[in-house]
Amino acid sequence: MSQLAQAALWSLVALPAVAGTLLATNRRAERAAAPVSLAVAAASVVLSVVVAVSRPTVAVPFMAGVDFALTVDGLAALLAPMLAVVTLLVLTAAAGEIRRSQARFHGLMLLFAASAALTVTAATLPTLLFAWEIMGAASYALIGFWWRDAERVSGGLTAFVTTRSADLGLYVAAGAALAGGAGLTLADLPHSSPGWRHVTAAGILAAALGKAAQLPFSFWLSRAMAGPSPVSALLHSAAMVAMGGYLLLRVQPLLAATGWAAPAAMWVGGLTALLLGAVAVAQRDVKQLLAASTAAQLGFVVMAAGAGTVAGGAAQLVAHAATKALLFLAAGAWLTALGTTQLIGLRGVVGRWRIVGWSATAGALALAGIAPLSLWATKDAVLARVLEQSPGLYAIGLAASALSAAYAGKLLVVIWGRGPRRGDGDQAEAGRVTGLQQAPLVILAVGAAYAGLLALPPVGAVLARAVGQPGGFHASAVELAVSAVLALAVLLLVANRRVPEPRWALRWLGLEAAVRVLVVRPTLRCAEALARFDDHFLDRGVELVSAGALRLAGRTGRIDDQWLDGTVERLAAGARRLGQLARRPQTGQLHQYYLQAVVVLVAAVVVLVVWG
């Protein structure tokens, strides 16, 4: 049994990875793509249940003395099946929606899901980083899937580079963990030496906040909306963004051990829930609204990790996954049918596609935190723990809950609003929503409605025990009642009044613009300056040195010619002239020789007299 379970764990990652790679690189697999991908996804669901029950661990030696290790603990046992089910449902809907480049699409989606499955089960830092970065790269390829549109590719680039900048934290964390002496196994990180433990926690925190689109990284999620709707459905619900929250839940003991990282996570999560909630309220595009709400809802998961309630965070993750996958698939269905995701164009869509409309309504009500639907219970499970530690942050959390009721209400008002009157001809022209697109919505709607059970007494106690925090749920009846009333009140208010749309929130707090001005542009300018320095200074320097050497050689040559050789020539000429002079006295006439002898004698006498 245990060998079978281990094989199942390897296959849970390897099967979609291999199938995905083959599909993505094989252009002839177009027709087989969707069936193969659905079969693999279905098999993954079975495998995930097997490993969730049997809880195996597998490891092979990897590098730096660390294993490539996968393990299924209580947390992973909850999330792996959730991931597999959501993947299957999203791929089913995509089979009805994506018509071109199916092989590439399904291949990349399977790779994306495989990397998420590996993230969920990773037991060591190198394994985690391995999965983490592949997930980012797959998201790049999926967001920029329709690559003829440069804007979409650029959205993928923003997503990848932003999340990778946060991922750098994991590289540093790995180094700190190696130095800390407790090893690179995730479970052992809290035991490393205190100084290094701070660095490890900081690195992991940064990486997780990046993927979870928390402040200040949130803006990449807005750009990620350029991807096809099924991509958003998976990216926001179960993979990528959710994995950021998941990582913090997994390393919660490490965060708690440092003293500062847990409160920091709590505050970042709370502020993100509040501010991105406001951003969501201000949006006019349903996908942008949902994107901002993802960051906000993940804020509650991050808060949970900081506040120390792993079970509450996990329940919130699962409930959010069902809700958000549902809403994005609904948005995708409307997009294919109507060609728009602008809220203004979605007026009255419930009446036209009833199954989509009713499912989306269930999702939106859950998102609003209406009792007894899922996110109401899970959010309160988190907030109850926050209240024990910081009443101020609890107030922020309540305000964020109110905002989620507001943006969900805004969506509900639109889709239930009175649609434009049209003639029969228009009705015929409107697009079709296929059965494949509708079936997953119903299942997800059930999940969005009932996942809250995970955070309520009988099931919740089991979950809390499974993640190693027995008695983990603290929400009192009063707290539950307060939030239920608050959500309902805000929803009613929104139904009757126009929601304000502040500009600062519409543009996602200006985060991307700020990063462009403060980071991207200076970096590019610095790069150009260095390139100029390289060409005009370093390279020119080398060229000048060589030119200088040539000039030196030329000058040496000239010195050789003019001075050395010239001196020799002059010496020779002088000698010749002396020789000619020496010939002068030899006239052959005797009287002149006598005269010369007399001159020499006189000169000799004078010399003798003077020096004598």
Binding site: M63, L157, Y171, G175, S546
Partner: protein, 501 residues
Amino acid sequence: MGLKPLLSLIVFLPLIAAVALAAVPRVGDTVARRTWVAVAAVDLGLIAVVWARYDTPPPGELAFAERAAWIPGVNSSYHVGVDGFSLPLVAMTAVIFLACAVYALRERHRPRAHAALLLFLQSVSLGLFVAADLILFFVFFDLSIVGMYFVIAGWGHGNRAHSALKFFLYTFLGSLALLVGFIGLYVAATPHTFDMAQLAATPPLQGRPVAGGLVLAAILLGLAVKTPTVPFHTWLPPAHTDAPAVGSAVLAGVLLKMGTYGFVRIAMPMLPQAWRAWAWVIIVVGVVSVLYGALVALAQSNVKRMIAYTSVNHMGYIVLAVGVAGLVAADTAQARGVAVAGAVTQMVSHGLITGALFLLAGVLRDRAGTYDMRDFGGLAAPAPAFAVLFAVGAFASLGLPAFSGFIAEFQIFTGSVAAAPVTAVAVLGILISAALFLRALQRVFTGDTTGRSIGFADLRARELWSVGPLLLLSLLIGVLPRPLLDVVEPAAHAVIGLLGR
């Protein structure tokens, strides 16, 4: 013992083939090209045999060692052998040359001379990596420069004469500094010798910081020019831009490694004290190379120049790791060993990935006559296979997990950060690399099909079969690194031990 001359056979087989190709005038072009492929394949097969039979030799010794008297007057012998540093590089060299041989199956310009010259270069490169004698090493080092000069000058394009001459003079001057350092080692050793094993076993110049520092400076200068590190890198971009695709692949894949290999083979084990004293200088040069190379690459619009600068960046990681290895402290020995193992992995990884990228860049010029990204757009439409391979190469080069670059960089970063936390600044290099490669992909391959992309023919079989295996091998190392690391790690930890002396 029947395997005794195996390494010599591996080294000189290509040379024999080169001489035969050059000497027999009747050989047809097709025969010459195919001979090259066959010889490269056989050579790779022989190396596979060596790898299969390789057992980590005891410290200070080499596997498959051969020794013969050569210049006894100065105690220099023909001494070759392999260990955990050289074997992976020998294998990588043979793979790159085989890929080049396949790529050049359609070479039209003087294919016989081309094949002979590249076979000669293969012998020289293999010889350098197995050399266990400084003079032998130096001879191969200089011959590689000569060979590459003729490749660029003879088969290059653009301003090839100038680029080739610049490459030759610059690296040749560097090699002279290297020779000065070697002579310094020889003079300081008692008894005088050029034998690497002896010099590493009893390092000369211990306890003589000034002389040791000067000798190390000479050797470092020579290796830094060849590697190249900032600020000695300016010969690299023009050499790559004007070299033929095959020349660029060999230059980046194999010749640059001669510099980095020199660090772990010569400088670290033979001058441990001086290395430790100058470790921070080396680290700074490494970090500067990482960031400078990445930033300048970001500003390029010429694909080949961009890849050339990413080579400066990638070599920077290696220099950083070997520098960190010199920060001797008892409790970081494990971390520094990890860094050095990462450095050697990076040498192999960079060879495979950058070799593939340069061959792909050659396709751009072959079809469109330019490397300028601004001349392309939407290239994925007419050339999907080319787009996929280039994207895979780009992601491999930016250190994506599941490719060899991640295995290398993860080890380098973890080891370096653990031994010297301030080196964490170098991780910014992989962020900038990500940005620059994704920008390049976006400019060249996505959007509307415009400019030179129109009518661009997709990859041909020989191009696919030369580039594909390189990337596949990088993938294999990335997913299953153990076979490589099992060879590298003992040597890495051994050199950490040697540095502690």
